[in-house]
């Protein structure tokens, strides 16, 4: 990540360098030797340059910046000390550019002497005294960031021209790239610094500095700028300043003791700093940025550079700083919603009601509209006209999870049986009977609420109306009183006009060398023996109706006859992979209980049979083909569970070649990495869908397997993909088995078709998710389970009426796991508005993000990633600008005003922008990106929410006795204290972060080792210990896992350990190593964009 950043920034700096050189030399010259950290940071050096770039900007401003740099360090330290509360300005890694800007100011403050220089005198003042920060926060709280601040910089600028620098900086950032060349003298140090940020223990450095510098740190944050500033600083009063920074860094050298070191900061540090530059940088980076940005909200400009946007008018904005605590906090919003709405049940009787957030646990009472567990909308108030909608740019979308699981307290949908006549439908639009249908003429007819067609009520369905025009039996009939219900389908709704047979599960196991060697096959076979008892059942059925079959394969396929009458299983090898067929009919798909003995014998033998295999090549497409053909031959729908290990290079249809090429990243061809290599899989998927054959893929790759291609079929058939890179039984067993169990046991609907009908005026136009569409309206899902969602986008095709509102009806025709054909209906009524304010008042940011993420993730298939990112930013800016223009009370143009419902939009969107798919770090593989892209496509709102903004839970803050989940904190390094332990989860990963100075007692009771240093880094299981803390933590981990659809493997990360890099990737409010902006920086940038739009 650093690298990327650095690359961009470097170029500009060319100029700055000259300046720096001088500095660095002096300072760093000595340092280099010292720097112990180098090793780890080596990598970072790259990034550093980036920072330097900032410096370059600084260059012009150099002087000021130089002053600043020291500050930054100082700040950082301060942050710790003073800011301890904040946690950290550090976090802001992301938008280094912005950071820089901020930093500059910061730096100024630091060099207190210099401070004046610092562009933002005003700010500075505040800095000096911690209070400033407070002020900032206050401002933030208001949500409005005073643009006014910006002007301040100029002042500082005077001396240093910092403001200027800011502007330039932004521009320069990109340039930073050039640094590479510079690196030599000056650059190096800088680079190091940057690296540190990424890596680094912001805390340590920060604390000490902070102490000395205090708030000003905020300015500091822009560590990068710092560097530049530093140089100048040196020139100026620089020396001292720089020293502080350095000092802080020195501690890093000490790495382990990091924090302590910080202490020493003072004078000596300068030298150190130079050496440790890496560290410092890190610190700086993290610290500086954070602070800078925070204070400066307004300062958005700095951010600009990062985004590629030009510096714009640097001068005006430069100095602003934002207090991280003052900007909208996801944690706060979640907490508030939980407190306000968690206690009351959500009653769906009222049209257009915005449901509680997905993070709030609440009960739903269905009184005519579908539960938000089934459908969530981006807005519950739809603009009446398409013009309004266009103006607002708020996408109108619904995230539908038709088979969502409900908490035990809520009843699952009633099943309505209308007998042979089947469900009652509108003759014209074919909508199903629902509570919104209007009965007229004494109940003899009804008017369709979707198309207004008047239909006769069939005699057997006739019922009188009461005085309000309601049917007397309305409350006796689910379809007249509830939002969600099911109809039993008649034979007309079945394929070939034949009731379906019960579905089948086919387990298809790779038995090539890799799979055997890792122990996968043995593990799997052992597990299947017991797992087969837990196949999904319908209702109270005694045994599952699902039949099972087994196939193993490498270069050829092995089918197994496990007919109950056989004494031993029979294996049938099909080598003709070019022309796949199913070699047997009878005995392939069997009832588990009847054939138990044979199946057990088979599962016992599979690992033995292939124990000595030397076959390393595998096929893939023929395997799916075989499963599909088997289902076809058995005339049923079903699911294939594929356990696959390697790139299918054996000669066969669907053969793939290794086309992984990281050089394509950030080029126009990057999209090809997400596209399938061959069209063969799409064709195959189409056939699968036609047969109702859903494919779940479990991957165990050691290297590139081309997830983008392999996941095509699962994706189009409504299946899931699970990936266990470098699978090892000891480490990954729990995770795999847990996922497998869940996947096998979960209730699935097969051979499904989903259709979303809407009342006149809007129309479903676009669909996102794991499914196949052969026309523009029907979503075909070979399989659909309770975890899969379909996101639907609507567009106006006419004017809407405020009175009648807008209606959605989602009808899902599917075959249950017992083979029953059913229709599940979800209805939802939305309000329509003529005022934009209503729209903004009824939005759901989480859903919006879900939609935007899916939209963007699909976009990368066809457009360069950069343009996808720009589109997202633009759209977000437009949404917010529209609000500002039309809904917000008049205020200073410099203020950032966000709608209450969308105040988290920037932070969340920034998370999306920083995600691996849209901004990959160096350690993210092509397969990982394709995998995540594919996963997000069918995530529901709760999943995207936590996925993009991970939950960070402090474990030792709250009393051990408390049984509730500890309150989450914001995902930023600043918020971590090295004396605590934290859990971080995002639905896929689970980290336990251990601070370096955690009490020994805690270490002992949790890890059963005497000291921090003896904790095994990367540990994935906590020892089972009989003490309250251990129990509590393990209990918490279990409960977190229980909330997610996939098992999260625990990784214990020690502070300052190598693994911490990985962990920091999830601290999404911070600037990321891959160049993602910090929250503060992004907010600044967004503000700038908005202002541009408004002007």
């Amino acid at each position: 990540m650093n690298v990327n950043q650095s690359a961009a920034p470097v170029p500009p700096f060319g100029q700055p360098q000259p300046i720096y050189p001088g500095y660095h030399q002096s300072n760093y010259g000595g340092q280099p030797g010292t720097t112990a950290p180098p090793t780890s940071y080596g990598a970072y050096n790259g990034p550093v340059p980036g920072y330097q770039q900032t410096l370059p900007q600084g260059v012009s401003r150099a002087p000021p910046s130089s002053g600043a740099p020291p500050v930054s360090t100082a700040q950082a330290t301060c942050g710790q000390t003073a800011y301890g509360q904040f946690g950290q300005g550090d976090v802001q890694n992301g938008p280094s550019s912005t950071v820089q800007m901020q930093r500059l100011p910061g730096s100024q403050p630091f060099g207190s002497p210099l401070a004046p220089v610092v562009s933002q005198p005003a700010v500075l003042q505040p800095y000096g005294p911690p209070p400033t920060s407070a002020q900032v926060t206050a401002q933030l709280a208001g949500m409005q960031i005073s643009g006014a601040m910006a002007p301040a910089p100029p002042p500082s600028g005077l001396g240093y021209g910092p403001p200027m620098s800011l502007a330039s900086a932004s521009g320069s950032f990109p340039n930073s790239g050039p640094y590479g060349s510079y690196p030599q003298g000056q650059a190096p140090p800088l680079s190091q610094a940057q690296g540190h940020q990424g890596v680094q223990p912001p805390q340590r450095s920060a604390p000490p500095l902070a102490s000395s510098f205090t708030p000003p740190a905020s300015g500091v944050p822009r560590m990068p700028s710092m560097t530049s500033p530093l140089l100048p600083g040196q020139g100026f009063g620089g020396p001292p300043v720089s020293q502080p920074n350095h000092v802080s860094s020195p501690p890093p050298q000490a790495l382990p003791p990091g924090p302590q070191v910080t202490g020493p900061p003072g004078p000596p540090p300068p030298m150190h700093s130079s050496q440790q530059p890496g560290y410092q940088l890190q610190q700086n980076g993290s610290f500086g940025p954070t602070r800078g940005p925070q204070p400066n909200y307004g300062s958005p400009y700095p951010g600009a550079p990062t985004f590629g946007s030009q510096p714009g008018p640097p001068q005006p904005l430069p100095p602003k700083r934002l207090d991280p605590d003052a900007i909208p906090s996801p944690i706060q919003v979640i907490e508030d919603d939980r407190n306000n709405r968690g206690s009351e049940p959500f009653v769906t009787g009222v049209r257009g009601q915005v449901p509680p957030l997905v993070t709030t646990s609440f009960l739903v009472k269905d009184q005519g509209n579908a539960s938000p567990r089934y459908i969530r909308c981006t807005s519950y108030n739809i603009p009446c006209t398409s013009d309004m909608a266009k103006q607002a740019q708020v996408p109108l979308a619904a995230v539908i999870k038709p088979l969502a699981r409900l908490p035990p307290e809520e009843a699952s949908p009633y099943v309505v049986d209308h007998g042979e006549s089947g469900p009652l439908r509108c003759n014209r639009c074919k909508a199903y009977m629902c509570p919104f249908m209007q009965f007229i003429e004494g109940g003899r007819r009804f008017q369709c609420c979707f198309c207004s067609c008047i239909n006769d009520v069939p005699p057997q369905y006739f019922q009188h109306l009461d005085h309000t025009g309601k049917r007397v039996d309305a409350y006796d009939r689910p379809e007249l009183s509830l939002g969600s219900y099911e109809f039993l389908a008649t034979v007309d709704y079945c394929k070939n006009n034949k009731f379906p047979s019960p579905p089948a599960f086919i387990f298809m196991i790779d038995v090539s060398y890799n799979a055997i060697r890792t122990g996968l096959v043995r593990l799997l076979c052992e597990e299947l023996k017991s797992l087969l008892d837990y196949l999904p059942r319908e209702g109270g059925a005694e045994e599952s109706a699902i039949r099972v079959g087994f196939v193993t394969y490498n270069k050829v396929l092995h089918f197994y006859n496990v007919k109950s009458s056989l004494a031993q299983p029979q294996m049938m090898v099909v080598s003709d992979v070019a022309d796949m067929f199913v070699p047997l009919l009878d005995g392939f798909l069997v009832n588990v209980n009847e054939s138990r003995a044979v199946i057990t014998s088979l599962l016992d033998q599979i690992p033995e049979m292939f124990a000595d295999t030397r076959e390393t090549e595998t096929v893939f497409a023929p395997v799916i083909q075989a499963g599909m053909e088997a289902l076809k031959a058995a005339e049923c729908a079903g699911k294939l569970f594929l356990f696959h290990t390697s790139l299918p290079i054996a000669e066969a249809p669907g053969k793939l070649k290794n086309r992984d090429d990281r050089k394509l990243i950030n080029t126009d061809k990057e999209k090809t990495l997400f596209q399938p290599q061959t069209g063969a899989y799409q064709t195959l998927a189409k056939e699968c869908v036609a047969q109702g054959c859903c494919v779940d893929l479990f991957l165990f790759p050691n290297q590139y397997v081309d997830v983008a291609t392999l996941s095509v079929v699962p994706q189009l058939t409504g299946g899931s993909v699970y990936k266990y890179a470098c699978f090892q039984v000891e480490n990954d067993q729990e995770r795999f088995l847990s996922d497998l169990r869940r996947d096998v046991q979960k209730v699935v609907g097969f051979d499904a078709v989903m259709r979303v009908r809407t009342s006149t005026g809007i129309r479903a136009v676009d669909f996102f998710g794991a499914f196949y569409m052969s026309n523009t309206t029907d979503v075909e899902l070979a399989g659909l389970d309770g975890d899969k969602t379909v996101t639907v986008e609507f567009k106006h095709d006419d004017r809407l009426n405020e009175e009648s509102g807008a209606l959605l009806q989602c009808a899902l025709l599917y075959t249950s796991c017992a083979g029953q054909r059913r229709l599940r209906i979800h209805n939802l009524a939305l309000n329509c508005c003529t005022l934009l304010a209503d729209l903004y008042r009824n939005c759901e940011t989480d859903t919006l993000i879900n939609y935007m993420a899916k939209f963007a993730y699909r976009g990368v298939l066809n457009s360069p990633v950069k343009s996808v990112r720009d589109t997202l930013i633009t759209q977000c800016a437009q949404i917010l600008a529209c609000y500002r223009k039309n809904c917000a009370s008049p205020s200073s143009a410099g203020q950032l005003i966000l709608p209450e419902c969308m105040k988290l939009l920037p932070v969340y969107l920034n998370c999306v922008l920083k995600s691996d798919v849209l901004q990959p770090g160096a350690e993210v593989t092509t397969d990982d990106r394709a995998y995540v892209r594919q996963l997000v496509t069918s995530m529901d709102v709760a999943e995207t929410n936590v996925f993009f903004y991970p939950r960070l839970l402090p474990l030792t803050k709250s009393p051990i006795e408390s049984t509730t989940e500890p309150p989450a904190i914001r995902a930023s390094e600043e918020r971590l204290s090295n004396g605590d332990i934290y859990l971080l989860e995002n639905g896929l990963n689970l980290f336990l972060w251990v601070g370096a100075s955690v009490q020994q007692g805690v270490v002992q009771s949790l890890f059963n080792v005497p000291s921090f240093s003896q904790i095994t880094s990367g540990l994935s299981v906590l020892p089972v210990l009989d003490n309250p803390l251990s129990k509590k933590v393990r209990g918490l981990i279990d409960s977190l896992r229980a909330q997610r659809s996939r098992y999260m493997k625990l990784i214990v990360v020690k502070q300052e350990d190598k693994l911490e890099m990985l962990f920091k990737h999830f601290l999404v409010e911070d600037k990321s190593l891959s160049g993602g902006a910090s929250y503060v920086d992004f907010l600044c940038h967004m503000h700038k964009e908005i202002r541009q739009l408004l002007s």
Binding site: V556, H558, F559, L566, A567, Q568, P569, Q570, M571, M572, V573, V574, S575, D576, D579, F581, P583, L584, L585, D586, G587, S601, L602, Q605, E608, M609
Partner: protein
């Protein structure tokens, strides 16, 4: 005459050879005027309990183009230790081992009574016999059950070290791996796709070891067992496995809807069987045994579609060129047969079904490789069960009556050339000085390959006299022929059997009587019949009959005694007397008449006719009829409707059928139950006698004949009625007005009419 009969019989017993002429016309021109070619029926492996094989290798003539084997006809100079080859007159030194040779100390091969001698070759690795079962699973339940039992039974009959393999087929083809414990493995192939041998071997995973084999030839023997081990296993090792496997065989599980035939991939199954052996055991004795219960209905080699409403091709369709799959299928099987033959393997076909099974298309598989063809109604019949069991019968030495991969080489004196052979063989295309340009049967070669043969396998070998009229052979000159058969004995030994015969030359002009007297009319009839049948495979039926008639007439003209234009004066000598009668019955036989026979039946009959020895062949041409009565012991009677009498029991043996026919009175007595009354015990004995005799025939016959027990007026009596000479028909019944015999309802001419015509034509100068 008697002497000639004895001579012929003696020769047959000793050498397994019957010549059409036992004194040979000495010039080419004269020979062609003899009408019946100089030819012989050779039974290469005729059982000779009195002939112990010698345990050394034959001594060969040193002339590279000759390489004849030292034999009693060679002149030997005991002093000089030299011998002269009687074919090329090359003088050869005896090998060192023969140093002690002298007039009184002769090696066996020089003794006249060892004109046929068998050598055992000790060289070379012995490879075990291989039996590859190819089993159709599209059978009725009880049929499949019976077949499974027969197969399981057969395992106990195989030599313990024999390798066995199993392929089953239906809609798919499964090649079973036999060596696995705990799970039975098989490789499955689509039944519709023709695969090359290479593909098959790749898919069976046999190709990898093949690479080193090619690179390092010496390693080959070691590689073999490894390569094949999965699919071909020693019976002693996997006896239990295979028995279980066979026991668990299920009917083809794919549903067959009403009005359809099951999809049967015979073509692909055979192709895989051939490919499997080709890849693993080329040039080793192996039997592919195909058991099928119906016609191939899909894939390459399909004979009929799966729509039941479209019947399988009939002769009518074939004549109308309306058999759409026939040519393609035939081509497929021919290709397989040729490959199999090239590998030295043979294919047996056991087809049991009420309808046709495509033998017409598949016949080449057995005919070219020397395999057996068995046709029955069901696997659940004794006909199949006993026939199958008989394949594994053993001879007096306890060896199986089967041999593999034989090469028959024929050497002749200079006056003779080889025109061709007819029998279960393929040409090896060995050109040489003794190969004639005129082909009769499979010609153009002096060597043939006979991949599978048994002690009764008999080839017709045709010669041409090439000696020119103006180069007379000195009085007392003899012509010689040597037959060298190299084969793999069922004990896996390599053996060479050498038969050397000589016959006198005679000048046809001056010594026609001699030649005439030495005519073997039985052999001649069979040899001519083979030629006729051989022609019938490629020519229209009527053309063949005309050709046969013309030959007969010419023969009669040549050797008959008559006055021109006076049919009544026509006489034939004893040595020719039966010949016209044989031809009469041959014309009516199913070998040349397709009426009332399906194409499959014709193929089946012809298959057996082309490989059985003389006696059996004659029975096929002219069935034997015995009559049982109270008037005396059983007696052979004329195959004539006049033999069908009310108070007789008839036993007819047509080779393919054994018919016991109760005359009208006998049948009534039997119905009345007289046989159960003690006072009529003689009647009981009379009834029993033919049954016992039939059993005796059944015991020895391969394949088992259809056994028919019928009576006057019974529907099955047709088998008898269709064979007898229709001397009494509905046309002349009343004219004769006698109470002898039974009228046959036919328009066919009777022997009498046939002979009358023959005489007329023979004496007429018009021809």
């Amino acid at each position: 005459m008697a002497t000639y009969l004895e001579f012929i019989q003696q020769n047959e017993e000793r050498d397994g050879v019957r010549f059409s002429w036992n004194v040979w016309p000495s010039s080419r021109l004269e020979a062609t005027r003899m009408v019946v070619p100089l030819a012989c029926l050779l039974t290469p492996l005729k059982e000779r309990p009195d002939l112990p094989p010698v345990q050394y290798e034959p001594v060969l003539c040193s002339r590279p183009t000759c390489k004849a084997v030292l034999n009693p006809l060679c002149q030997v100079d005991y002093r000089a230790k030299l011998w002269a080859c009687n074919f090329c007159f090359q003088r050869n030194q005896f090998p060192p081992a023969y140093a002690g040779i002298s007039e009184v100390n002769q090696p066996a091969e020089l003794m006249p009574q060892f004109s046929t001698i068998e050598y055992v070759i000790q060289r070379g690795a012995q490879s075990p016999l291989i039996f590859l079962y190819v089993v159709d699973t599209c059978l009725e339940e009880d049929d499949l059950q019976a077949l499974k039992e027969s197969l399981q039974m057969s395992l106990s009959l195989l030599p313990p070290d024999a390798l066995v393999g199993l392929i089953t087929f239906g809609r798919m083809v499964q090649v079973h791996e036999l060596s696995c414990e705990g799970i039975s493995k098989s490789y499955v192939f689509r039944g519709t796709k023709d695969l090359t041998a290479k593909q098959i071997q790749d898919m069976l995973g046999l190709s990898k070891p093949a690479m080193p084999m090619q690179q390092a030839r010496p390693a080959q023997p070691q590689e073999h067992p490894f390569v094949s081990s999965r699919f071909l296993q020693p019976i002693q090792k996997i006896d239990m496995n295979l028995t279980d496997l066979l026991g668990e065989l299920q009917r083809d599980p794919w549903p067959v809807t009403q009005g359809k035939r099951p999809l049967r991939s015979t073509g692909v199954a055979l192709s895989i069987a051939v490919g499997l052996l080709e890849g693993t055991f080329p040039n080793t004795g192996a039997r592919i045994m195909l058991f099928t219960g119906g016609p191939p209905t899909q894939g390459p080699g399909m004979v009929v579609g799966d729509e039941l409403k479209i019947p399988i091709r009939s002769w009518h369709d074939i004549e109308k060129d309306n058999a759409r799959f026939m040519k393609k299928a035939t081509k497929h099987y021919e290709m397989l047969a040729n490959r199999t033959a090239a590998n030295g393997h043979c294919i047996d076909i056991y087809a049991c079904a009420l309808d046709q099974t495509g033998l017409l298309e598949m016949k080449c598989c057995t005919n070219l490789t020397g395999g057996h063809m068995v046709m029955g109604d069901s696997f659940n019949t004794s006909l199949f069960k006993q026939t199958f069991q008989r394949i594994f019968s053993k001879d007096f030495n306890g060896d199986f009556r089967m041999a593999f991969g034989a090469t028959l080489e024929v050497k002749t004196s200079r006056e003779l050339k080889i025109a061709g052979a007819i029998g279960p063989c393929v040409s090896l295309n060995m050109k040489g000085p003794c190969v004639s340009e005129n082909e009769l049967g499979v010609g153009g070669t002096s060597q043939w390959k006979i991949c599978g043969l048994d002690p009764t396998s008999t080839l017709g070998i045709y010669f041409e006299v090439v000696n020119q009229h103006n180069a007379p052979i000195p009085q007392g000159g003899r012509g010689a022929i040597q037959f060298v058969t190299q084969y793999q004995h069922s004990s896996t030994q390599k053996r060479i059997r050498v038969t050397t015969i000589a016959r006198n030359w005679a000048d046809a002009q001056s010594q026609l009587r001699h030649i005439e007297a030495a005519f073997d009319q039985e052999a001649a009839a069979v040899l001519m019949a083979r030629l006729g049948v051989f022609r019938a495979e490629s020519e229209e039926g009527p053309d063949v009959l005309r050709w046969l008639d013309r030959q007969l007439i010419r023969l009669c003209q040549k050797f008959g005694q008559y006055n021109k234009e006076d049919p009544t004066s026509f006489r034939l000598s004893d040595s020719f007397s039966l010949y016209p009668q044989f031809m009469f019955h041959l014309r009516r036989s199913p070998f040349l008449q397709v009426f009332n026979n399906s194409p499959d039946e014709s193929s089946y009959y012809r298959h057996h006719f082309a490989r059985q020895d003389l006696t059996q062949s004659l029975i096929m041409i002219q069935p034997i009829l015995y009559s049982y009565s109270f008037h005396g012991p059983p007696e052979p009677v004329l195959l004539d409707s006049s033999s069908i009498l009310a108070d007789r029991i008839l036993l007819m043996d047509t080779f393919f059928q054994i018919v016991i026919y109760l005359g009208e009175t006998i049948a009534q007595w039997q119905k009345a139950g007289y046989q159960d009354m003690p006072e009529y015990e003689n009647f009981k004995h009379l009834l029993q006698a033919p049954l016992d005799d039939a059993q005796e025939i059944l015991q020895a016959r391969f394949p088992m004949p259809r056994y028919i027990n019928t009576e006057h007026g019974g529907s099955q009596a047709r088998f008898l009625l269709s064979k007898v000479n229709p001397s009494q028909t509905h046309n002349n019944l009343y004219a004769w007005g006698q109470e002898t015999g039974a009228p046959i309802l036919t328009d066919d001419v009777s022997l009498q009419v046939f002979m009358d015509h023959l005489k007329k034509l023979a004496v007429s100068s018009a021809c």
